[in-house]
Symmetry: C4
Subunit: 405 residues, 4 copies
């Protein structure tokens, strides 16, 4: 970079030839503009994007809006290699279609007056270590298994018992005192061999969830969904149970797929945590798969508010949307976590936190952060490709240690 | 702490405003007082407890009695952040309701004359490394599997086979020469996949313990209870077997739950080790759940003396009560061990020690100490939340190494 | 070596007595000769091979041809301890019968003019780190499970389910987003206990592959063969399925054994990767087991070209033969990898790369290289004897890390 | 030791009072004496043994004979804390009843003339690293799975499948190319979950070995016995098979127990390796349990010679007795290995070496040495108590590495 030619692009629409050692500083159009670039500006951006030069954007890539780019013209954004943004990341950085244009980003402190910051009201937060450090509880010397709660996990079906295994381990490694897993009969050997610490409540049905024989009075938190399947018999049992649950609840995967009508969605207890990935959320909320990520995010915030639930919209910068319409974008995580079973682990972690008495809000936020941090620790050791969901769980203890330091 | 304002509270009932950097030295009322604080003293204590200052107690928090605080008034104890206690920890430090007021504690050597110490008779001991170092045996070069005994473990039932897995691993990692586990038929694959070193004696019953087909003459020690269930058929088999066992025995979990009448308790062979947690002990001894920990401890000591058994009352500072009315409070362990399967591991460890020829007394003491130490090693590596019972067992070898150094 | 007597052998057919500290420099006959040594030369070579001296060959052991030694006389090659070869390894180095005579080898840079190198056309390449570094893809921050594809593995039969386990782990550790494994009923517990991250599609047949109940539309890549067995019912299901697969495919082991006639070989989709070891390739291509390795290699190149497939001929210096008649000899790997399950792991790795969108050519090359590198990492840690196939898979993450540095 | 009083005991029968800091040098009676001590000498020895002093014996504890102490009087041996022995350890050091009196021992080089050493013929050897370094083979770059052989293991029965698991892992970690395990039906899931690298040949019988369906032509070595049980049906199948086996064979555990008559022993193929522990050997050879270890050793040497087998008599200093009446006492191993499954691991290791083409003699010697070394590595890391048989196997790769350095 020492011997590279630094070039600040002036208001000239004719670009010189750039080589791959050239660096373009994109400081032209700030976040103030809120209409798509057109004409010569658009042409300039396209030329820059075609060139081989590295592009560094200041504050935000030119042409991009800070929040909603649904109505914007994608071809007219600068495609930056790196963005130095002022004081705070912009919400668009967290959204797939737009975030790709930002490249790596870093916050530049421009010494905004603290008062100015605190006066600016926002419902969107970037979730960082300092936030979760405040949430995490210390453990009293005289605590016992009961102190950390008894979790109930309803998960697994024929051919999908692994989801129950991963979720159970996540729950126990997150600190639950006791865990009972309700599984179909054919899950018995798999579960007990894989997670001897978990007790089983075995369903009468061989392959699918069909009923809870004992009403779960002793349980402090319930998690439902990983690998559950969507058989009619399971659907019936699920909604029957839903009426009876008076303790914190997290729903994932097939439990979300069973919520296939507004009438059924109405039955979700208030305060429940839902952990859909994008596809699951689209089905759940009836959102078209082709809307922009920003529109989808608005839908998730609205869904959380309407149903009084916590919606954990999984992906890069997983968003935790609260009933109060707040939204927390998670700092931790990496593409190596886009792997089979990663979501099952998260459900287990959140369930384990709920069992210990964390509020739904704290469990969702802390769970998402720890899960991502554990994934980062695992990826550092094992590469992103090499990482499997089990590795995330095995790294969870190190994640706990890291947020305690 | 350097720039903090040190304040010794005089006999003044009006407290200045304390900030969180202030430190109050609580040296007012020693252990001599044996009546609850009242009047101005009580008011003073309440004021201190409400303030933000850090409190350091000398010898014992003011208002607390050294042993029995059953008749004391809880609101009138100083809530210390740290206690420097003279020469020996007080028994109240080990009891949940009172121990919480002590905070972290440390022993101050006040140079009591050794003769004074040895003349003071006590039946309560703080179990430390120097005690177990004397107990642990060295192994002769020419020893063989028979030297280290053949243990029999009767554990596990449908949906609770994991307890048998954990207990078995604990037993083998504690050094038993051979281990046979008696399990119901459905435990076969689980056990052999998880613990290939253990042999099985498979029950004719698919799901529950129903009989021992061979009388266990070859066994040097027996453990019964983890995950056993409380079916009638198991109860019958248990009491039939109990009559025949002439070797050291450890009973845990459901084996304790089966002892649900004084008549049945009478059938426990002398010298047996019982390892109840508080809830199990209450049921076993008919103690009300609402009595003070001190009263419960007295009950445990009495129970051990009456039944001529060793009662391992599990919790923080696990207490080993002997038939001679001695009581050993364990130094090791941490709140991360309040996790599913932790007790199963302990039962296995004690069984493994019994098989090797340790006396019941030594096996109980050494087992409790090693179990706690292994948990401490695991928690240091994995955090308290992240720790699972399997980790305690995997750390047991390091615990053995540590007490040998 | 300092005090050893260095001896350059002149054109004299009478050798002095050599001890084991003597070193013979074999620089007599270069690669120019292309007829077997006879007469006095042959006698000299035999004398040298019988002596105790260490032999260092320059460019290539005397008597050996650079490529095809099928018509050569083996007894007349110098048996070198080490060969310093000019600019490039010769193809004969990679072939078992001939490579053994080369000993350890190293390339000597003799400053061939770059133009001379680039003008020399070759279809044979030595596959090295710099080649795979160019192939491996980076992962976008905004990728999700779908980005990395959904792989389908059809593997395992009664008594051979372990092959499916190893292949599945290889696939997931290679970075596939999702994996479904189609297994016979009796594989259910084995698979889910061993690889909880994998979902199952369970066959109706208890012991063998008999049909795919759902057409694999959702799958991005398919792997068939490890531990599959060669039952008629599996053969029928295999060829029925083969007609329907429109996505990249890798065939191994019993899937290759099912291709037992030219008519069946014609049904292999273009672009498929085949991963036979020598015995499997002989059967597949109808090659006699007694032909030279060179003839077998030519047959593999011809087979790849005729069937438009990628033939991965496994062994030392595994050769990847492409439809364009190119051949890549792999640098990585060691004799410790000649162990049960090693090939199953490779199939899984290649499948995992295909699922992520690598072309068949890149998946074969990258898969072979990573597999060998993982095996090298494992052997360094565990010795060649001690290494098991599971260790190769557990080292795969470190292999990914190494080619990224 | 600096400030300790060194006392050489003269020919005085009256001993001074010794404290525990005193050290007695026992140099009185060398190995020359071959009759039990009596009278005053015996009294002196008894006094020394009763004293608290540390005793250092020179060459051999006084009163002990170098080889056979069967006719000697135990109470008249010096019980040494340490013995410095001249030039070579004495055979009595390796025998339980006598070895205990030797304490730790170390060889003192007394500069015997090499010629004197080589002229002294002996059939007893102390097996050390330098011996096995010469045995171990290097691996050719061009080797493949076939190079390292295909082993057949017949092991396991209902409730004892773990023995098959441990033996299989031992075999594969010892370097076998392929392994097929013949197990009863109920062993299927256990084996494939635990050792995916092993293929199974499943017996038609659910619980016991009843027949080999395919004659094992493809196998290069066979191991029979761990966890096999002694059912009549298994006995029949065993002896039927024994007639057909033409490849190297190792028999252990229940396979040895099935050899319960001289007529059956006659059916053991020549060159077979037998690996009994003391109890198994007594039954096998009809030796009384109460004979001296020396007499038992002589019996083992005789048995090996008569049956033309290799008898591996397991224990401290495991003895490998050859048909030529040689005896190798193994240097490696520790009391932590006196644990369940340790012998199963050894059988597997020896089988794995046989499959690779090691002679029966070399496989027995190398196997015993590696097994002990792996156990030493494991015990160093995990303590003797904490060590389980699985740990021995997991340390085997490090043992291979150590003998290669």
């Amino acid at each position: 970079m020492e011997d590279a030619k630094l070039t600040e692009v002036k208001r000239s629409f004719v670009l010189p030839e750039f080589g791959k050692n050239d660096i373009i500083i994109d400081g032209l159009f700030g976040t103030g503009l809120n209409k798509p670039l057109t004409g010569g500006f658009a042409t300039l951006v396209k030329s820059i994007n075609k060139s081989k030069a590295s592009v560094i954007s200041i504050d935000i890539p030119s042409g991009m809006f800070a929040e909603d780019n649904s109505g914007n013209t994608k071809g007219t954004f600068i495609k930056a290699n790196k963005t130095f943004t002022f004081q705070f990341p912009k919400m668009a950085f967290f959204l797939p279609e737009d975030g790709e244009f930002v490249g790596e980003w870093e916050v530049l402190n421009i010494d905004l007056h603290p008062e100015a910051i605190s006066k600016t009201t926002t419902s969107n937060y970037y979730l960082r270590k300092e936030n979760v450090e405040k949430i995490i509880k210390s453990r009293s010397v005289f605590s016992h298994k009961g102190t950390f709660g008894h979790a109930l996990l309803i998960a697994g079906s024929y051919g999908k018992m692994g989801a129950a295994v991963l979720s159970s381990k996540g729950c126990l490694r997150a600190g639950a005192g006791l865990l009972t897993v309700h599984v179909p009969e054919k899950g018995n050997v798999i579960m007990q061999t894989s997670v001897p610490e978990a007790m089983l409540d075995v369903d009468l049905n061989e392959k699918y969830f069909s009923e809870i024989t004992f009403f779960p009075k002793k349980y402090n938190a319930v998690g439902i969904g990983p690998g559950l399947g969507t058989e009619q018999i399971s659907s019936d049992a699920f909604f029957q149970l839903l009426r009876q649950i008076k303790v914190p609840l997290v729903l994932d995967a097939d439990a979300l797929n069973l919520l296939d009508s507004p009438e059924k969605i109405d039955r979700i207890p208030e305060g429940t945590i839902l952990t859909p990935h994008v596809g699951e959320f689209n089905r759940l909320a009836g959102v078209s798969p082709v809307v922009s990520s920003y529109q989808r995010l608005l839908a998730a915030i609205e869904f959380a508010a309407q149903t009084k639930t916590y919606v954990v919209l999984k992906g890069a910068y997983t968003a935790v949307c609260t009933p109060e319409r707040n939204c927390f974008f998670n700092e931790t995580g990496n593409p190596g976590m886009a792997t089979a079973g990663s979501g099952d682990a998260l459900t287990g972690i959140i369930l384990g936190l709920l069992a210990q008495g964390y509020s739904s809000r704290d469990a969702a936020i802390l769970g998402v952060y720890l899960h991502g941090l554990a994934g980062d620790i695992a990826a550092k050791k094992l590469s992103q490709e090499g990482l499997m969901a089990s590795d995330i769980i095995e790294s969870l203890p190190l994640a706990f240690k890291e947020i305690r330091v």
